[in-house]
């Protein structure tokens, strides 16, 4: 089902992930998070932007374990744990944050 962002229509797959990663703009994350009743803070954006950088460099979405370690290294040890990430993204950092970031569903994520 396509989603509407600022008057534009974005194609998504059956699980709500953006069909084309290059279509992404920040408004996509805003609209998706509103549907989940979540307000995006700077901390959320740190993760979303980091995921996009990671995908740009490696062409995959990181596994939760890899993301956790990387976040700890980049944003501070207190943030490098799954409690922090699940606090931000209750549906799971890999699934929910990747979806907001316009990335495909992470490999091996059920």
């Amino acid at each position: 089902m396509p989603i509407e962002v600022n008057g534009k229509s974005f194609e998504t797959d059956e699980e709500g992930y953006l069909a084309n990663i290059n279509d992404w703009e920040p408004g996509v994350a805003e609209v998706m998070s509103k549907e989940d009743d979540l307000d995006l803070t700077d901390e959320h954006w740190d993760i979303i932007n980091y995921l996009r950088e990671y995908y740009e460099e490696y062409q995959i979405a990181p596994a939760v374990r890899v993301l956790t370690k990387a976040v700890g290294k980049k944003f501070g040890k207190d943030k490098g744990n799954s409690k922090y990430l699940y606090g931000l993204f209750p549906y799971g950092p890999a699934k929910q944050a990747c979806r907001y970031a316009g990335l495909p569903k992470p490999t091996g994520c059920v």
Partner: protein, 136 residues
């Protein structure tokens, strides 16, 4: 967590884009990395082409997944064996391959090389030593 750690060897024999094998293998490696096994990757025959640097897939309209190999270190995959003879038979050297590293947590996150060149004979020994071999 399982107590049993097995030696897994992922054997890559095919060039990256003509078939789906290379990408499938890489995906299985990344998924399997969550299971804390003793993982080695081996590249022989045309499989060595998977690690060539500066790949450009624009002309064939496929996603260039070669950058993903550089993520292997983050997934704790530290042992990447490349067969020397396979490189030589194709006029290639180690310098033609991507530089793959992993970070050693116990050594102040020093970057260490993942790729090790081995002879055909050593490769045979690696295969014999492995408990599980996935051939792609």
């Amino acid at each position: 967590m399982s107590e049993t750690i097995k030696k897994f060897l992922y054997l890559n024999r095919k060039a990256p884009y003509g078939t789906i094998y290379a990408w499938e293998s890489l995906e299985v490696v990344l998924i399997g990395a969550a299971f804390d096994q003793d993982v080695s990757l081996a590249f022989v025959d045309d499989g060595v082409y998977q690690l060539i640097k500066d790949q450009d897939t624009k002309g064939i309209g496929m996603k260039n997944f070669s950058p993903t190999y550089t993520a292997l270190g983050d997934y704790e995959v530290k042992k990447v064996f490349v067969e020397k003879e396979s490189l030589e038979e194709r006029g290639l050297t180690l310098d033609d391959l991507q530089h793959l590293v992993w970070e050693d947590e116990d050594d102040d996150w020093a970057e260490k090389d993942s790729i090790e060149l081995v002879s055909r004979e050593e490769m045979t020994a690696l295969m014999e030593d492995a408990e599980v071999v996935f051939s792609f």
